[in-house]
Protein backbone atom coordinates (compact mmCIF):
# COMPACT_ATOMS: atom_id res chain seq x y z
CA UNK A 1 0.00 0.00 0.00
CA UNK A 2 0.91 3.62 -0.05
CA UNK A 3 3.06 5.06 2.65
CA UNK A 4 4.55 8.37 3.53
CA UNK A 5 7.41 8.55 5.97
CA UNK A 6 9.56 11.18 7.55
CA UNK A 7 13.24 10.49 8.00
CA UNK A 8 13.59 11.86 11.53
CA UNK A 9 10.90 12.04 14.21
CA UNK A 10 12.58 14.98 15.96
CA UNK A 11 14.73 17.90 14.91
CA UNK A 12 16.31 20.51 17.15
CA UNK A 13 17.78 23.70 15.70
CA UNK A 14 19.13 26.97 17.00
CA UNK A 15 17.05 30.09 16.46
CA UNK A 16 18.14 31.79 13.26
CA UNK A 17 19.46 28.62 11.64
CA UNK A 18 17.84 26.97 8.65
CA UNK A 19 15.77 23.80 9.16
CA UNK A 20 15.34 20.94 6.73
CA UNK A 21 12.63 18.35 7.25
CA UNK A 22 12.59 15.35 4.93
CA UNK A 23 9.86 13.03 3.73
CA UNK A 24 9.76 9.94 1.52
CA UNK A 25 6.73 8.57 -0.27
CA UNK A 26 6.02 5.29 -2.03
CA UNK A 27 3.24 5.99 -4.51
CA UNK A 28 4.71 7.02 -7.85
CA UNK A 29 1.21 8.08 -8.99
CA UNK A 30 1.00 10.79 -6.34
CA UNK A 31 0.43 14.11 -8.06
CA UNK A 32 0.15 16.58 -5.22
CA UNK A 33 2.05 17.06 -1.97
CA UNK A 34 1.36 19.28 1.00
CA UNK A 35 3.23 20.24 4.15
CA UNK A 36 1.21 20.94 7.29
CA UNK A 37 2.23 22.46 10.61
CA UNK A 38 0.56 21.37 13.82
CA UNK A 39 1.03 23.39 16.97
CA UNK A 40 0.38 21.82 20.34
CA UNK A 41 -3.32 21.27 21.00
CA UNK A 42 -4.41 22.47 17.57
CA UNK A 43 -5.34 21.02 14.22
CA UNK A 44 -2.84 20.89 11.35
CA UNK A 45 -2.53 23.99 9.19
CA UNK A 46 -1.46 24.27 5.57
CA UNK A 47 2.05 25.61 4.95
CA UNK A 48 2.87 25.00 1.32
CA UNK A 49 2.06 22.61 -1.50
CA UNK A 50 3.68 21.38 -4.68
CA UNK A 51 2.42 19.54 -7.72
CA UNK A 52 4.28 16.67 -9.32
CA UNK A 53 5.08 18.72 -12.43
CA UNK A 54 7.27 21.00 -10.31
CA UNK A 55 10.51 20.35 -8.43
CA UNK A 56 10.62 23.47 -6.26
CA UNK A 57 8.20 25.95 -4.79
CA UNK A 58 8.88 28.87 -2.49
CA UNK A 59 6.75 30.62 0.04
CA UNK A 60 7.46 33.06 2.80
CA UNK A 61 10.58 31.66 4.55
CA UNK A 62 9.67 28.15 3.38
CA UNK A 63 10.73 26.15 0.34
CA UNK A 64 9.55 22.71 -0.71
CA UNK A 65 11.73 20.54 -2.95
CA UNK A 66 10.39 17.50 -4.77
CA UNK A 67 12.58 14.75 -6.22
CA UNK A 68 10.31 12.36 -8.08
CA UNK A 69 13.18 10.11 -9.11
CA UNK A 70 13.80 9.01 -5.54
CA UNK A 71 10.28 9.86 -4.28
CA UNK A 72 11.50 12.37 -1.76
CA UNK A 73 10.42 15.82 -0.70
CA UNK A 74 11.77 18.25 1.81
CA UNK A 75 10.64 21.35 3.63
CA UNK A 76 13.21 24.04 4.22
CA UNK A 77 12.54 26.77 6.76
CA UNK A 78 14.83 29.78 6.59
CA UNK A 79 15.91 31.68 9.70
CA UNK A 80 13.96 29.40 12.04
CA UNK A 81 12.06 31.20 14.79
CA UNK A 82 10.64 29.98 18.13
CA UNK A 83 7.15 30.20 16.61
CA UNK A 84 8.19 27.54 14.12
CA UNK A 85 8.32 24.95 16.92
CA UNK A 86 5.63 22.42 16.01
CA UNK A 87 5.05 19.03 14.43
CA UNK A 88 5.40 19.05 10.65
CA UNK A 89 3.59 16.55 8.44
CA UNK A 90 3.99 15.82 4.79
CA UNK A 91 0.96 14.49 2.95
CA UNK A 92 0.46 13.15 -0.52
CA UNK A 93 -2.68 12.91 -2.58
CA UNK A 94 -2.63 9.81 -4.68
CA UNK A 95 -4.35 11.04 -7.81
CA UNK A 96 -7.88 10.49 -9.11
CA UNK A 97 -7.76 6.74 -8.50
CA UNK A 98 -7.44 7.37 -4.79
CA UNK A 99 -10.58 9.52 -4.62
CA UNK A 100 -8.51 12.53 -3.65
CA UNK A 101 -7.65 11.13 -0.24
CA UNK A 102 -4.47 12.28 1.43
CA UNK A 103 -1.97 10.01 3.15
CA UNK A 104 0.02 11.54 5.99
CA UNK A 105 3.49 10.79 7.30
CA UNK A 106 4.10 10.35 11.02
CA UNK A 107 5.40 13.86 11.61
CA UNK A 108 8.66 15.51 12.63
CA UNK A 109 8.73 17.51 15.84
CA UNK A 110 10.77 20.67 15.34
CA UNK A 111 12.15 22.34 18.45
CA UNK A 112 13.76 25.76 18.13
CA UNK A 113 16.29 26.62 20.82
CA UNK A 114 16.68 30.32 21.71
Amino acid sequence: GESVGLHLPTLSVQEGDNSIINCAYSNSASDYFIWYKQESGKGPQFIIDIRSNMDKRQGQRVTVLLNKTVKHLSLQIAATQPGDSAVYFCAEKGGRANAGKSTFGDGTTLTVKP
Binding site: G43, P44, G100, D106
Partner: protein, 113 residues
Amino acid sequence: IAGITQAPTSQILAAGRRMTLRCTQDMRHNAMYWYRQDLGLGLRLIHYSNTAGTTGKGEVPDGYSVSRANTDDFPLTLASAVPSQTSVYFCASKPRASTGELFFGEGSRLTVL
Protein backbone atom coordinates in the same frame (compact mmCIF):
# COMPACT_ATOMS: atom_id res chain seq x y z
CA ILE B 1 -15.33 33.30 11.85
CA ALA B 2 -15.46 30.85 8.95
CA GLY B 3 -14.04 27.41 9.51
CA ILE B 4 -14.70 24.02 11.03
CA THR B 5 -16.28 23.54 14.43
CA GLN B 6 -15.91 20.27 16.30
CA ALA B 7 -17.76 19.22 19.45
CA PRO B 8 -17.13 18.14 22.08
CA THR B 9 -13.59 19.40 22.62
CA SER B 10 -12.92 16.60 25.06
CA GLN B 11 -14.90 13.63 26.36
CA ILE B 12 -14.36 10.69 28.69
CA LEU B 13 -16.53 7.74 27.79
CA ALA B 14 -17.21 4.32 29.29
CA ALA B 15 -16.54 1.35 27.04
CA GLY B 16 -19.66 0.11 25.30
CA ARG B 17 -21.31 3.52 25.16
CA ARG B 18 -22.41 5.19 21.95
CA MET B 19 -20.80 8.50 21.05
CA THR B 20 -21.23 11.00 18.24
CA LEU B 21 -18.57 13.55 17.44
CA ARG B 22 -19.99 16.56 15.66
CA CYS B 23 -18.38 18.48 12.83
CA THR B 24 -19.80 21.55 11.10
CA GLN B 25 -18.22 23.75 8.44
CA ASP B 26 -19.47 27.03 7.03
CA MET B 27 -17.16 27.25 4.02
CA ARG B 28 -19.51 25.33 1.69
CA HIS B 29 -16.78 22.79 1.05
CA ASN B 30 -17.86 19.70 -0.85
CA ALA B 31 -15.41 17.21 0.65
CA MET B 32 -15.16 16.33 4.34
CA TYR B 33 -12.96 13.89 6.25
CA TRP B 34 -12.50 12.33 9.66
CA TYR B 35 -8.99 11.48 10.85
CA ARG B 36 -7.70 10.03 14.09
CA GLN B 37 -4.32 10.95 15.52
CA ASP B 38 -2.59 8.72 18.01
CA LEU B 39 0.51 9.63 20.00
CA GLY B 40 3.60 9.66 17.83
CA LEU B 41 1.69 8.82 14.68
CA GLY B 42 0.39 10.77 11.77
CA LEU B 43 -3.24 11.19 10.87
CA ARG B 44 -5.13 8.14 9.68
CA LEU B 45 -8.27 8.51 7.61
CA ILE B 46 -11.40 6.95 9.10
CA HIS B 47 -14.17 7.98 6.69
CA TYR B 48 -14.64 10.60 4.04
CA SER B 49 -17.36 12.24 1.98
CA ASN B 50 -16.64 13.75 -1.43
CA THR B 51 -20.03 15.48 -1.56
CA ALA B 52 -23.29 15.63 0.37
CA GLY B 53 -25.15 12.32 0.23
CA THR B 54 -22.04 10.16 -0.33
CA THR B 55 -19.54 8.61 2.06
CA GLY B 56 -16.57 6.28 1.78
CA LYS B 57 -14.29 4.22 3.99
CA GLY B 58 -10.79 5.31 4.78
CA GLU B 59 -7.82 3.44 6.18
CA VAL B 60 -9.29 2.61 9.62
CA PRO B 61 -13.12 2.57 9.34
CA ASP B 62 -13.98 -0.33 11.66
CA GLY B 63 -16.10 0.67 14.66
CA TYR B 64 -17.05 4.02 13.13
CA SER B 65 -19.88 5.28 10.96
CA VAL B 66 -20.60 8.62 9.31
CA SER B 67 -23.44 10.36 7.52
CA ARG B 68 -23.55 13.37 5.22
CA ALA B 69 -27.13 14.57 5.04
CA ASN B 70 -26.12 18.09 3.98
CA THR B 71 -23.05 20.04 2.94
CA ASP B 72 -22.24 21.52 6.33
CA ASP B 73 -22.43 18.60 8.77
CA PHE B 74 -20.40 15.39 8.96
CA PRO B 75 -20.92 13.57 12.28
CA LEU B 76 -18.80 10.59 13.30
CA THR B 77 -20.46 7.90 15.43
CA LEU B 78 -18.88 5.22 17.58
CA ALA B 79 -21.65 2.67 18.03
CA SER B 80 -20.03 0.88 20.97
CA ALA B 81 -16.81 2.53 22.10
CA VAL B 82 -13.72 0.46 22.93
CA PRO B 83 -10.48 1.59 24.66
CA SER B 84 -8.52 1.35 21.38
CA GLN B 85 -10.64 4.22 20.10
CA THR B 86 -9.01 6.54 22.60
CA SER B 87 -7.51 9.17 20.35
CA VAL B 88 -7.71 12.73 19.10
CA TYR B 89 -10.17 13.05 16.25
CA PHE B 90 -9.87 15.71 13.58
CA CYS B 91 -12.50 16.72 11.11
CA ALA B 92 -11.30 18.36 7.90
CA SER B 93 -12.75 19.73 4.70
CA LYS B 94 -11.70 21.08 1.33
CA PRO B 95 -13.57 22.75 -1.52
CA ARG B 96 -13.31 19.74 -3.85
CA ALA B 97 -12.10 16.19 -3.34
CA SER B 98 -9.80 16.37 -6.37
CA THR B 99 -7.39 19.03 -5.20
CA GLY B 100 -6.44 21.57 -2.61
CA GLU B 101 -5.32 21.54 0.97
CA LEU B 102 -7.34 20.34 3.93
CA PHE B 103 -8.80 22.73 6.47
CA PHE B 104 -8.83 21.15 9.93
CA GLY B 105 -10.90 21.65 13.03
CA GLU B 106 -9.28 21.94 16.45
CA GLY B 107 -9.88 18.30 17.32
CA SER B 108 -11.93 16.25 19.78
CA ARG B 109 -9.99 14.37 22.43
CA LEU B 110 -11.79 11.13 23.29
CA THR B 111 -10.85 8.81 26.14
CA VAL B 112 -12.58 5.44 26.37
CA LEU B 113 -12.23 3.70 29.73
